[in-house]
């Protein structure tokens, strides 16, 4: 499918670009709301756990070099299982991107386009990904690696620009809502590392497949760092996310940045960067969905089906009646979907396939 393959750094950028979209929507707020002042502890804890899972994942994948989850599920349960898994993942990618899109656009409506119907804002994104998805996979990868550094700079600027407003004592009380909340209920936040499940489909596309382990570890650690940076900014700055909600939490942090009297209120520049990176995320999701579909049906050319996926995303994002519904879906349903599909489904298949491989190996 791709002429050129993905280099190691680009792969890391790819997984990170996914996280950016979570961060700019409600993720940091959910984090702080649920774990209060122990958020940073919770993030570090979760990063550790995900790191452990990902090491396991790499170990399991070692027996299937250069194969992705589809190939593995074909090995495990034939074409039927492969198609089921493929469909699940396609559904996951499409539903997740449409929910994120809806919520992001609702935020935009509130912030900048008060009298514009959200449909048109969604349409704007849809058109942009419809145009770019006709281009090659390489273009998406390259775009992600151009855009992500910008996002990283914006996050660092956000952190540094607000240093004056920080009160580092807000990490106390250490345990937040208590150990149970932080370490057991806080496990729900593992969904923040949803970008990891894109790794399942990376191995055949990598330039150096043996570096998958390196990619996975770097991605997890930098994702953790990135979340830490953004959530830390919010936690240190505001006392109110523990009790109140704002529609786009990072946006409100961006409003506080000031350098002298000239550079004030440039939150819209941050928004510009986030819009670009959000487009990037949508495009990546769409590309992966079509890639899986393509692989399932062995199509030689996937361009004709691209529009169908894009129209699907558009339609699903219009389904929720209002922001309350879409926000409920995102914070209460979608996160479990992330965990279920991203971690449980993938890992189960890998573990079972490993058992089968061992069995087959014994027979021979």
């Amino acid at each position: 499918m791709t002429k050129q393959k993905i280099s190691t750094v680009s792969a890391v950028m790819l997984t990170l670009s996914i996280v950016v979209s979570y961060i700019t929507s409600s993720l940091p707020r959910t984090f702080i709301n649920e774990t209060k002042s122990a958020t940073l502890l919770n993030i570090i804890y979760i990063t550790m756990i995900v790191l452990f899972i990902i090491l396991l994942f790499c170990k399991l994948l070692k027996k299937f070099p250069g194969l992705d989850l589809l190939d593995i599920s074909k090995f495990l349960g034939g074409n039927t299982l492969r198609n089921i898994v493929g469909t699940l993942f396609i559904a996951y990618f499409i539903i997740s991107s449409s929910i994120m899109l809806r919520n992001f656009c609702e935020g935009l409506v509130v912030v900048y386009y008060p009298l514009t119907n959200y449909i048109f804002i969604i349409l704007m994104f849809i058109i942009s990904i419809a145009l770019t998805n006709r281009l090659g996979f390489q273009s998406t990868i390259n775009t992600a690696s151009i855009v992500f550094p910008l996002v990283l700079i914006s996050a660092i600027l956000l952190f540094c620009g607000n240093l004056d407003n920080f009160s580092f004592r807000k990490i106390y009380p250490v345990l937040g809502d208590g150990a149970y909340n932080t370490f057991v209920l806080g496990l729900k936040n593992i969904g923040a590392f949803g970008g990891i499940c894109y790794l399942y489909f990376l191995p055949p596309m990598l330039k150096e497949p043996e570096k998958l382990k390196k990619i996975a570890i770097i991605s997890v650690i930098s994702t953790g760092f990135f979340i830490l940076l953004c959530v830390g900014t919010l936690l240190f700055m505001f006392s109110f996310f523990t009790t109140t909600d704002e529609i786009m939490p990072l946006f409100s942090a961006a409003r506080h940045i000031e350098f002298g009297t000239f550079f004030q209120r440039f939150e819209s520049v941050f928004l510009l960067i986030w819009i670009i990176s959000f487009c990037c995320y949508l495009s990546i999701s769409c590309k992966f969905a079509t890639h899986i579909f393509n692989k399932m049906l062995n199509l030689s050319d996937m361009r004709p089906i691209l529009n169908i996926f894009i129209i699907l995303i558009f339609a699903i994002s219009l389904l929720p009646k209002n922001y309350a519904v879409s926000n409920f879906v995102e914070t209460h349903i979608y996160r479990y979907l992330r965990i279920a599909v991203g971690f449980i489904l993938g890992m189960t298949i890998l573990i079972l396939a490993n058992f089968k491989k061992r069995k087959v190996g014994d027979k021979h």
Partner: protein, 407 residues
């Protein structure tokens, strides 16, 4: 790519552009430069009949349009039941959309503030356009009168004056850069209380109050010895307990507040001379970064230990002064320590027992004593703060004088 040359594709692109222009034009019309009236200061006052009186300050640009200096302030007031309604009425009066994105100053009257302003602050913060860095002022007089008289004496552009006057707190410590963002933050948080700049005007009747203050540093707005072109002044701090105005701080108390918060770079104090109790020495102090604040709980009430370090230079110079002698410097340091300790303690006890308000966020130092948020919430810091005991330790190092070292 879709074939661009296809005529139908062209038509579709054209249709899309038209759809987008028409769908976004409503937002465009409300936000665009030509349709907006920019507020530079917003006054919220109480009118008769329990209504709000909003005062908007706009700047009218001169038609010649060549230079910015020809802007004139225009004041419009409206009585209304809520801020949003008031803005709406003003929209229809002006024929333009009121835009708060460049509002630098939000003024509440003392009367309204003492009744509680949380509703107003919430609805202002809810507004997308308002900037969190807009300064919040509690005016001792009518807000309209305050805005009318806030005409900068040196600059011609009012917004610039609004931008820079809170910055004087960095080197005088007489006022504070209190913003609405901080105010809202403190309003919600459960271990701190909000504060605002204390504004006022010199009334002609009040001029007798000049002599009331025996000390230069106990001045505050409306009670200061300043006379000038401009009647408004911003000295001191308005302290809130939750959303209600609890009291006022004068200049030296504001200095104490700022130095605990580490928001002042340097300031001037007059301390009694160690030799002669009648004369005073002016000292220019710079807070060191090694502030040490420790909060522990003793028998359920907070015991707060503050250790503050300053380094200073002697400003005042008289005949026969000798500022190179270590003994003299030490005695001045001691005198300075004593003076500051008494000032800090009186400030802290004033806020804790009289105002019952923790504007210094001392509660945040207490957070580490608790393991979980619910423990802290159960303790209810703000209620216990009035029982707090303070132990202030000031350590001042006076190095030298300025140009003249010996006379």
């Amino acid at each position: 790519m879709i074939n661009i040359n296809n005529i139908l594709t062209k038509i579709v692109i054209l249709v899309l552009v038209i759809i987008f222009i028409s769908s976004f034009s409503a937002s465009y019309n409300t936000l665009n430069l030509d349709n907006s009236a920019f507020v530079v200061a917003l006054g919220v006052d109480k009118s008769e009949a329990d209504k709000l009186e909003l005062t908007f300050e706009f700047l009218a640009t001169s038609p010649s349009g060549e230079s910015v200096s020809e802007t004139k302030p225009v004041l419009n007031s409206v009585q209304c039941s809520s801020i949003t309604n008031g803005i709406n009425i003003m929209n229809s009066y002006l024929g333009k959309k009121v835009n708060l994105s460049h509002c630098k100053l939000i003024i509440f009257s003392e009367e309204l503030a003492s009744e509680g302003i949380s509703n107003e602050v919430y609805s202002l913060v809810n507004e997308v356009q308002i900037r969190p860095s807009a300064n919040i002022v509690v005016s001792k007089c009518n807000t309209k009168y305050y805005i009318e008289n806030s005409i900068p004496s040196l600059e011609s552009l009012i917004p610039r004056y609004y931008d820079i006057f809170p910055n004087t707190s960095k080197y005088t410590g007489y006022t504070c850069d209190a913003t609405i963002g901080d105010f809202f933050n403190a309003l919600i948080c459960n271990y701190c209380d909000p504060y605002a700049i204390l504004g006022g005007t010199t009334n002609s009747e009040n001029e007798s109050s000049q002599s009331n203050s025996s000390d230069d540093s106990t001045i505050k707005s409306s009670e200061s010895p300043i006379t000038g072109n401009r009647l408004s002044q911003n000295i001191g701090l308005a302290v809130f307990n939750d959303d209600k105005l609890a009291g006022e701080l004068n200049a030296i108390e504001t200095i104490c507040f700022l130095s605990i918060k580490k928001e002042v770079d340097n300031f001037l104090v007059s301390i009694p001379s160690p030799n002669d109790s009648n004369s005073k020495i002016d000292i220019y102090l710079t807070p060191n970064s090694t502030h040490n604040i420790n909060v522990s709980l003793v028998n359920g009430s907070p015991y707060i230990k503050l250790k503050l370090d300053f380094s200073g230079k002697i400003y005042s110079m008289t005949r026969n002064s000798e500022y190179l002698d270590i003994n003299i410097l030490n005695s001045i340091s001691d005198s300075c320590n004593n003076y500051l300790e008494s000032q800090f303690s009186s400030y802290l006890y004033k806020t804790s027992t009289v105002f019952e308000s923790d504007i210094n966020e001392l509660g945040s130092y207490c957070l580490s004593n608790f393991l979980t948020t619910s423990d802290f919430n159960n303790y209810n810091w703000l209620d216990n703060y009035k029982n707090a005991t303070f132990d202030v330790e000031i350590n001042t190092v006076i190095d030298s004088g300025f140009l003249l070292t010996q006379t």
